[in-house]
Every structure is written in C-alpha cells, then in structure tokens.
C-alpha cells in the first residue's frame, strides 16, 4: 500500500454531480469533499441549488448524473434510510401525531433498537437540549424554538455519521437565531459527526463553517475557509455576497508611473496592494469594504471627500451613505464609530486603507489576483 492510497477517506464526497428538473438545470458538475468531523456550509442566494444539493446528498432527489460517496462507498443508488444520515428540516417536520418523546424515538424504533437503549438515548439527547419538561407534549403545543430543538434532538438521537441541516434557523427570531447558532456549533463539536449545512444567511455561514461553499447558479463559485472567501473573493459575486453593508465599488484605471504601480480614481492615485504582482494598464473595478474606508485622520490620510446623502445610526455603529466627489455617482457606504454624529448634507473627509483594496476585471468580473 503506497502512502498516497493510505490517506484518510473523506466522510462524504460529491463527484461531478448534475441535476436537472425537466429542462431546468439546477446543479451542474458540483464536486465537494467533506472530511470526517468537518462542518461544511453551503451558502448562496435563493435558487442557487444549495437545497437541491443537500437533498441529493440525503437521497431525497436522485441526481441526473454524477455520484455521491460516503465512507468510501458509492451511495448514489441507496435510499435515504440506508445512508446513515440525519436531517434537520427548515420546517422542522415533526410528526404531528407523536409526542416529543416518540418523535425522538421514531428513528430508533424503525431500526428495532432495544427499548432500554431507546430510553437511554432519548433521555441523553433530551438532557443535552433541555427538552425534559416537554417530552410528553405534542409538536403543536411547542413554540418555534422548542420545535427546532426537538428536530435537532431527533437527529442527535440517531448518532449518524452525517448531519444535514436545511436552513434550520430561518423560522426563528433574531435573538433566538444567534443563540441556537452557537449551540449548533457546540453540538457539532461534541457529537463529532460530519455536518453539511445549508443557509442563505452570511452570518451563519461565516461563523459556523470550517469550509464555506458558495454556490451560484448551480455551480460552485468559491470554496474554502470563510475568511479566505471574505478576504480573497475570486469574483465580484463573492465579494458582494459576503459582508454587511455590501462592498463599495469605484471605477479605476491601472497606471504605471515613476513611483510604481497605482490605480487612478477620479484624478487621485491609490496604492496597489503588494500581493498584486504585474498588472497591465487596464480599467479595473475597485472593491472597498465599508470598514476599510474610514474618516481621514493622522493614521489614514484623506483620499476623497464624501457628500453625505443618508445616515443610519444603529447605536453601536453608524453607516454613512453618500458619493465621493469627482469619483462618479456610485453610492458608497462608510462605517464610522457611533460617536461620530453625521447628518445629510455634511461632507466627510475619507481615507482608505489601501492594503485591503480588491481589484476586479470589469468585464469578466473575476478578481485580478485569482488563479484563472
């Protein structure tokens, strides 16, 4: 056995998967490999195919072509019950006629687990999720948050090799969402299973994932560690998808001059970050995240003047909307400290931290430092 064949078998692998409904292609040639114990998040706008991909991994949709492997076995033709997975649905999908206890025990009963084992596992999961007081209730007697916990309990009880989550937090309110988000990650770490998680929410995606997989139109746009996607997006699409408020765009032109490479924006020269090597003199789309723009100070010299059109003060931070004088009419958003009190009509001296600037080809909308 050579070392290369002895390397760890991934817990789940999606190979060259495509899926079409009638004439509509939903997934095209998606490949994905999940290490055992990893937490992979599929993220994307609605209609990008992320739920279909999850459902195909679950065995609820047959793929049009390609295959799915789990633990080194081709499971493409297996039905869901033979895949050793558990799934938490967006609607929770609790069995309405069964008590919480029986909802938890359902999968174990189907697998003819001995009664003593069922009791033990149900009470373990129930304790872990704080469901003890609810065990005899019916689903309709539970709040949204409680239902969500029962759905998670139903997955945990089974101790599967893989957990699948389909937007499990989208029916919860904001405060609960933040709380359960932390708990899901905690449970993942404790259970040691492999998790595949679908969401459209960038905060969930960024904070939960080991590996983030951003889908666009049924194909993988970029995959990697969350901060890698945030800091080095391969395309304008990725740069816009992550980050709140959205990234700002300015039109510039790469110029060579005696002092080296720079980007000309409305008569001003912006330094090109070091990691960009050789660039042709060409028009570029300059991406600047709101927190990389700042009010000019001793540290960050003024680069432009902002004409403020609109101000959103959240208390803990303030978003200032406006345009930059002489730099086109694109709206730019700057995040400033809440102690700044800015109002409409003000002008604001703006500085840029040039080391964070992102450059894109305006036509292909691919990053200029991305491998092509």
């Amino acid at each position: 056995m050579t070392p290369s064949t002895r390397r760890e078998v991934p817990c789940c692998e999606v190979r060259d998967l495509s899926k079409a409904f009638d004439q509509t292609t939903v997934l095209s040639n998606v490949s994905l490999s999940m290490k055992s114990g990893s937490f992979t998040v599929l993220v994307g706008a609605s209609g990008c195919g992320k739920s279909t991909l999850l459902r195909t991994v679950a065995g609820l949709e047959p793929p049009t072509s390609g295959s799915i492997w789990m633990g080194g076995r081709d499971v493409t033709a297996l039905s869901p019950k033979d895949r050793d997975i558990a799934m938490v649905f967006q609607s929770y999908a609790l069995y309405p006629h069964l008590s919480v206890r029986e909802n938890l025990a359902f999968g174990l009963r189907l697998r003819r687990t001995p009664e003593a084992e069922i009791v033990a596992r149900v009470s373990e999961a129930s304790a872990m999720l704080g469901l003890d007081a609810l065990l005899d209730r019916l689903p309709r007697q539970l709040s949204g948050g409680q239902r969500q916990r029962v759905a998670m309990g139903r997955a945990i009880v089974r101790r599967p090799h893989m957990f699948l989550f389909d937007e499990p937090l989208s029916n919860l309110d904001a405060a609960l969402r933040a709380e359960v988000r932390v708990e899901i990650r905690r449970l993942h770490d404790r259970m040691g299973g492999t998790t595949l998680y679908v969401t459209h929410d960038q905060v969930e995606a960024m904070t939960l994932a080991d590996t983030l997989c951003l889908l666009r139109g049924g194909a993988v746009e970029q995959m990697g560690a969350p901060l890698a996607l945030f800091d080095r997006p391969v395309s304008r699409f990725v740069a816009e998808f992550l980050g709140s408020p959205k990234i700002n765009w300015l039109d510039g032109q790469v110029k060579h001059s005696s002092s080296g490479l720079h980007i000309a924006i409305g008569g001003k020269a912006l330094k090109v970050p070091d990691r960009y090597g050789q660039l042709a003199e060409q028009p570029v789309l300059v991406g600047l995240r709101p927190h990389h723009l700042t009010t000019a100070s001793d540290d960050v010299p003024q680069f432009a003047t902002m004409n403020v059109t609109f101000c959103e003060a959240l208390g803990f931070e303030t978003y200032v909307h406006g345009t930059l004088s002489g730099m086109g009419d694109r709206t730019v958003v700057v995040r400033v400290e809440p102690s700044h009190r800015v109002t409409r009509g003000d002008t604001l001296p703006i500085g840029i931290r040039p080391e964070h600037t992102l450059l894109f080809d305006p036509r292909s909308e691919r990053a200029l430092d991305a491998p092509t």
């Binding site: 065995g59 609820l60 869901p80 019950k81 649905f89 999908a93 609790l94 006629h97 689903p139």
Partner: protein, 282 residues
Amino acid sequence: MSVRANVKALVVHTLLGAAVIYALYPVLWVVTIAFSRDGLGTDGFVFPWPRDPSFMNFAIATGISTGKGALFLRQFVNSLAVASATALMSVAVAAPAAYALARLPFVGKRTGLRALMLTQMFPTVASAVPLYFLLSQLHLLDRRAGLVIAYSASALPFAIFQLKAAFEAIPVELEEAAMVDGATRFGALVRVVLPAARPALAVTALFAFMSAWNEFVLAATLMSREEAFTLPVVLQRFVGEHAAAWGPFAAGSLLVSIPVMAVFYIAQKQLLSGLTAGSVKG
C-alpha cells in the same frame, strides 16, 4: 359602541338561527309525528308538537307489536353491515389512489381526475339498471356484498377528492423526515401520513357510511327479499304499499337516524377538525 355590537350580534344570531331552523324544521316534524298516537295532526302546524305523546309508533315500526321483531333486527344488521363495509372499502380504495394523485407526478393525472369528477355527475337512478345486471351476472343480487360494491363505487370519487386534499395539506417534509429516519416510502405513508390524515380519513369514512346507510334507490332496486332489505327500504314500505302509516314511518326514521347520530357524536371532535381543512400542521 355597545349598541352597534348588540345590533351585530342580533343580526348574526337571526341569520344563523334562520338557517338552522330552515334545515331543522322537517326534522322537528318527523319527531312530532313519530310520538303522536294519531299519526299527524294539523293544529300544531307552525310549532310542531305531539298532541297525544306515545311510543306506539316505535313498537309498530320495529315489528315488536306484530311479532316481526326478528326480521327488523335482521334488516337493521343488514344496514349496519353494508354501511360499515362501504365505509371501509371506500377508504381502503380511495386512500392509495388519493395518495398517488396528491404526491406522484404521472401522465394522465388530469384526465383521471376529470373522469372521476364526471362519474359524480351521473344520477344514481341511471346507474341502478346496469348495476342490477352486473350484480345479477355476479350472483350478488339480494346479497349485502352487491350493495357494498355498488355503494363504494359511487362513494369513491368524492372520497378520493376529499383524501387528495387532505394528503396535499400534509407537508412532504414529514414523509422525507420519516424516510431519512429509516422508513421506506410505504412505511412513511403508513406511519406518518395516514396518522396525520386521521381526521380526514374519519370524515371520509363517515360520509361513505352515511350515504350507504341512508340510500334508497339502489337498495330498492337491488334487493327484493324482505330479509335482504336495508332500513330505508323497510321505511318506505310503511308509506308506499297500501295505506300510508305515517306514525310508524316517522318512528322508523328516527330509529334509522340514531346510529348515525351516535357515530357522529362519538366522532364529532375529529369531524369538526377534519372539516376545517389545514388542521394538520407540524
């Protein structure tokens, strides 16, 4: 404010009261006639009330007073057996068909639905004759099984529509959850879908039971021996043959209604929740 609310309450109660009375009034008359010794009087016309209360008509209707009690009992059992078997048969055939219509995509679905609707448009009287000949070929005339076949055939389309709507109201995710949890598609149907659709199944069964229990035209056509009669046919004999015996007829009608009312009373919670659709939410 409170005047407006009172006026509204008055209007609502009047309206609904009128509707209830409109539907209930004939029933009140039946009760009155059944308990009147002399059959039918005219002086209590607007507000019917028995002039000379008595249970005599019930004794005549059940054959107790004429020594034919055993025959009546047998006819009662006929009705009960036929109606119960119809209810079971309709639900058993309709449920898989409705499930297929609700969940599985297939060619000819619309056509199938339309064909089912069309059979609903056909008068019972018209189907009596072909059924007579069919059942005679199958040697099922004067047999309960023959009536059950006829009744469940005519109850089927409505049952299918009813159950199709009920299954469609059950989220597909419930089945998918069961399949991920370890069930086959059939297992998910049996363990999750059917229990969740219980109220609708109960309503469908009750409707089939009721229509079979009360049906007259087919029963009169297909059954000729007295021992094979169902209760509506027995009833009709009181007024149809020679002199009209209104009192026993009305008493018999009440007796016929009692079992259905009992079923209704037992099942009323299921029924009311089954009739208000969309009750099966996770």
